[in-house]
């Protein structure tokens, strides 16, 4: 086995508080800034350690197991990361398997997040690119060195392909499995030769996804499927209003329900512990809890937006500015003034939140979940359980979706699981389940946001000024990550995609007010870009219309310094037949282009809008993500972003009435269904730049491309999301 001596990942940490505080102090750039992504992904090879032992094991049976430090929640990074290493190694794809890494911030951190092991910001492939290429190349060279030693031939005459090492001149060859055990003891080359792109056999090709078999025969294990011997199942009764606390509870009826074992109070509510899921749910139905709402958020979402509208009258904190937009707008020939509102959105992944915790014979703990911030989660649980982080072993499972929900700076649902486990007496393994209702009404939403924009053009149609204020709750303020991300009171995840716009606006100001309501908010697939891209792309479209210029041409005129953005815009327009638009009444094309997380995406939407119904017929997308490691996975992610975000564009809202979330299940918060799915075509720009991500970048342009298509189809300009043609809610 190539990793005969695996480094011990369980080294002790100085203190639990120190770990969290240390994480804060050491992280330089947690959030992926597109410029830093390019910098980090650039060839600084000397800084990247070749660590084959941490990332690959080769068995005597020839299987090649790639260790995946990230969470695969459907975005296909297990296939992507394995592709990178396997190509450099020279492996036969049919022999490649993957397994999830344990928690270890030294070996498995996300280099774009600092000393944190975690998945997010569409960074998995970007931060792993050189790391895994080096690991694979180093392993290849160790196998070559072993063969050269055995056969007494120059290593320069050795070749590697498809799990076989060959010496051409003599015809000798050996399988990986025959060489690996000995090769593992050789010194690890610190600067292995990376393949030239012309030598790639897997990168850039269609390779079968590694998880397709297990996920189509019922054998893929998600954490909701974990069954530990003698485990008990718990559900927690949580307050209907955020910030409320338990005043009192009556467990007498709950305890009488068949299968219920115990009822215990925890910081987040009252836990019912039972023999199985159904009994726990039934037990909770019989539970009576009185809530203290004195510290709770009791307003409705309408009232919160109304407050936002008031606050937007003021300038807010300056996120970015150039020149004097207000003066410029005074001299404008035409001014477009618009308000955009966005509701709270739930992640609504198919697998509701859950975790299983078990105490081991050695006094440590084994935890099973779809961990998205492994080392933060490990440290948080350890602090609650009263042990050092190395005593909490994480076992990562496939995750049934996340879209950001599993990653909270406070590790919320895992912290809760630890408190319930502790309160249960830790005797039996505890399987904590959030029902769909718990998951949907439990907070941590994409924030509700209001934008107010005034933009103007001169007599020739050129933009002269852009004055833009937004109001939304910061994801990071008040969180353990605040010090890293929030500068001068401004959270970059609120304003990203607007305040750093690549459009060549001669005078502009982006101001932001931070919302203060007591609703927990979180990143939701593409974060700030979910609203900023919509506003920018609809406003630009409105200016193009005011200038009587084609929307694609208008954008290109403002993107002369942004070649990759211009490139995807032109490609999408070309492939969509932009210049031969549909002539049927009620049908139109709309375009949007946006950069997020270092990747560039344009979409053209073909929409039919009649009466109050919007039907999306086709989406033509063009994406530039640098080297496309797995083109088919990239296409799948863009198709998937359309399917995921379409219902948010057309109808989804999480609303509060008197502080209570109104939507508890898929009947009231309905995701996109098969019959609504448009045809999606994805065109990938060929590139040799280091790869950037695609998990999120497909989302931001969907809404504005559809809104702009509705305008082309009907002449009606809808701004806010979800799009409402009925006129009842207004634009």
């Amino acid at each position: 086995m190539l990793n005969a001596r695996r480094p011990n990942p369980l080294s002790a940490r100085p203190s639990r508080r120190g770990l969290l505080a240390g994480a804060g102090a050491l992280v330089v750039a947690f959030r992926l800034d597109p410029k830093s992504a390019r910098a980090a992904a650039g060839p600084n090879l000397a800084d990247v350690k070749a660590q084959p032992n941490a990332f690959v094991r080769i068995g005597a049976d020839d299987t090649v197991t790639v260790v995946i430090k990230h969470l695969d929640m459907g975005q296909g990074n297990t296939t992507g990361l394995a592709t990178i290493l396997a190509d450099e190694l020279g492996a036969d794809w049919r022999q490649v398997r993957t397994e999830f890494a344990p928690a270890d911030a030294t070996l498995y951190n996300n280099s774009l997040m600092g000393p944190i092991q975690g998945t997010g910001g569409s960074t998995a492939v970007a931060n792993s690119w050189f790391q895994l290429r080096k690991a694979g190349a180093a392993a290849r060279e160790m196998l070559m060195a072993e063969a050269a030693f055995r056969w007494k031939v120059p290593v320069s005459e050795i070749t590697v392909a498809d799990n076989v090492v060959r010496h051409g001149p003599s015809g000798r060859q050996a399988r990986f499995g025959e060489l690996a055990a000995s090769a593992a003891s050789l010194p690890v080359p610190s600067e292995p030769r990376l393949k030239d792109p012309s030598e790639w056999t897997l990168i850039g090709q269609k390779v079968p996804r590694l998880d397709s078999v297990a996920k189509t025969n019922g054998t893929a294990v998600y954490s909701l499927d974990i069954r530990r011997p003698n485990q008990v199942t718990a559900v927690v009764a949580r307050a209907p209003r955020f910030g409320a606390t338990v005043k009192s509870f009556d467990a007498s009826a709950a305890r009488k329900v068949a299968g219920v074992r115990d009822v215990v109070q925890v910081p987040t509510g009252v836990a019912v512990i039972a023999r199985d899921t159904w009994s726990a749910m039934k037990g909770r139905e019989a539970l009576t809890v009185a809530w203290d709402d004195s510290t709770a958020e009791t307003r409705s979402s309408d009232a919160i937006l109304a407050e936002y509208r008031e606050r937007a009258k003021g300038p807010g904190l300056t996120a970015s500015e150039r020149g004097d937009p207000q003066a410029a707008l005074k001299g404008a020939a035409k001014v477009v003034e618009a308000e955009f509102t966005f509701p709270y959105l739930a992640h609504a992944a198919m697998e509701p939140l859950n975790a299983t915790i078990e105490k081991a014979a050695d006094g440590g703990y084994d935890v099973y979940a779809g961990f998205q911030f492994q080392t933060v989660e490990q440290a948080t649980m350890a602090a609650i359980l009263g042990v050092t982080a190395d005593r909490v072993r994480l076992h990562s499972n496939w995750a049934g979706g996340s879209f950001g929900r599993r990653a909270t700076p406070t590790a919320d649902y895992l912290a809760e699981a630890a408190t319930v486990f502790k309160a249960s007496g830790e005797k039996a393994p505890l399987h904590l389940v959030w029902t769909r209702e718990d998951d949907m009404a439990g907070g941590y939403y994409r924030p509700t946001v209001l934008h107010k924009v005034r933009a103007g053009i001169d007599g020739k149609g050129a933009v002269v000024g852009w004055d833009h204020v937004m109001v939304g709750k910061s994801i990071m303020i008040g969180s353990p990550f605040e010090a890293m991300i929030v500068k001068n009171g401004i959270d970059s995840t609120t304003v990203e995609g607007a305040s750093d716009t690549p459009y060549a606006l001669p005078a502009y100001r982006f101001g932001v007010h931070n919302g203060r309501e007591g609703v927990p908010v979180l990143w939701w697939r593409s974060v700030g870009h979910t609203h900023t891209a919509h506003v920018m792309e609809v406003m630009i479209d409105e200016l193009a219309h005011a200038a009587n210029v084609d929307p694609v041409a208008y954008r290109l005129s403002l993107l002369a310094q942004a070649p990759r953005l211009s490139g995807v815009l032109k490609l999408a327009a070309d492939k969509a037949g932009w210049n031969s638009k549909p002539q049927e009444p009620g049908r139109g094309l709309g375009v949007a282009v946006h950069e997020s997380f270092g990747s560039y995406v344009a979409m053209v939407a073909d929409v039919t809008a009649q009466d109050a119904a919007i039907r999306v017929n086709r989406i033509v997308a063009a994406v530039d993500v640098g080297v496309p490691v797995n083109p088919d996975v990239i296409r799948a992610q863009v198709e998937g972003a359309v399917g995921f975000a379409l219902s948010a564009v057309l109808r989804n809202r999480i609303t509060l009435k008197d502080g209570r979330v109104q939507e508890h299940n898929f009947d009231a918060y309905e995701p996109t269904r098969m019959s609504e799915m448009p045809k999606v075509e994805v065109h990938i720009v060929p590139s040799q730049v280091a790869p950037t991500g695609i998990g999120e970048p497909g989302v931001p342009v969907l809404g504005p491309s559809i809104a702009n298509a509705v305008f082309a189809a009907t002449g009606r300009r809808l701004r806010s999301l979800p799009l409402d043609l009925s006129g009842v809610k207004g634009a």
Binding site: M73, G74, Q75, G76, P208, R209, D211, S212, V213, A214, K215, T216, N217, G218, T219, A220, Y222, L224, D225, R227, T233, A258, D276, T277, W278, A348, A349, M350, E351, P352, W398, A399, G400, G401, F403, T435, R436, D632, V633, A636, Q637, E639, G640, A641, V642, G643, F644, L646, N665, F666, D667, E670, P671, T672, R673, M674, S675, M677, K679, V680
Partner: protein
């Protein structure tokens, strides 16, 4: 104690007759291939076959199953099942995969009764199965592919 036939095997179940079959499968038989997504028959993740017909296990009470043959993703087999699973893999349909047991059971049910489904037939049979990862385009293509391979 109620008896069930699951994937051809007779099993005795120690549970309340009101317990949904979903939880009998997942928590009494440790047959976790059938998934919980909503509990109110809105998402289709719990789709199984009762005498070959797709039903939502979250709405099927243990006490109502009787002698019907239960087939889950772990045990489904035959020409149609093989074609569906092969098409799913050929087209790399899955992303997170959590909904796919239910999708596949619904698709097998569709093709078992309709050898050449139209797009409208597919909408009708599959609209009850939600996929948050948005794999619908590939699911549709895989159903057409499976139909072609069975023809």
């Amino acid at each position: 104690m109620p008896k069930l036939t699951v994937n051809g095997e007779a099993r005795e179940i120690d549970a309340d007759p009101d317990m949904p079959l979903l939880w009998v499968l997942r928590d009494r038989l440790d047959a976790t291939g059938t998934k919980y997504g909503c509990g109110i028959a809105q998402c289709g993740a719990c789709t199984i076959h009762l005498d070959g017909q797709p039903v939502r296990a979250c709405q099927t009470k243990l006490g109502d199953v009787g002698t019907a043959q239960i087939t889950t993703i772990e045990g489904v087999n035959g020409r149609v099942a093989d074609a569906v699973q092969a098409a799913w893999r050929k087209l790399d349909v899955v992303q997170c995969g959590y909904c796919q047991s239910g999708q596949i059971m619904s698709a097998i049910g569709l093709l078992a009764g309709n050898a050449k489904p139209s797009d409208a037939d597919i909408d009708g049979a599959m609209d009850g199965n939600i996929c948050r990862c948005g794999t619908y385009q590939r699911i549709r293509a895989a159903i057409h592919e499976a139909a072609r391979s069975l023809a």
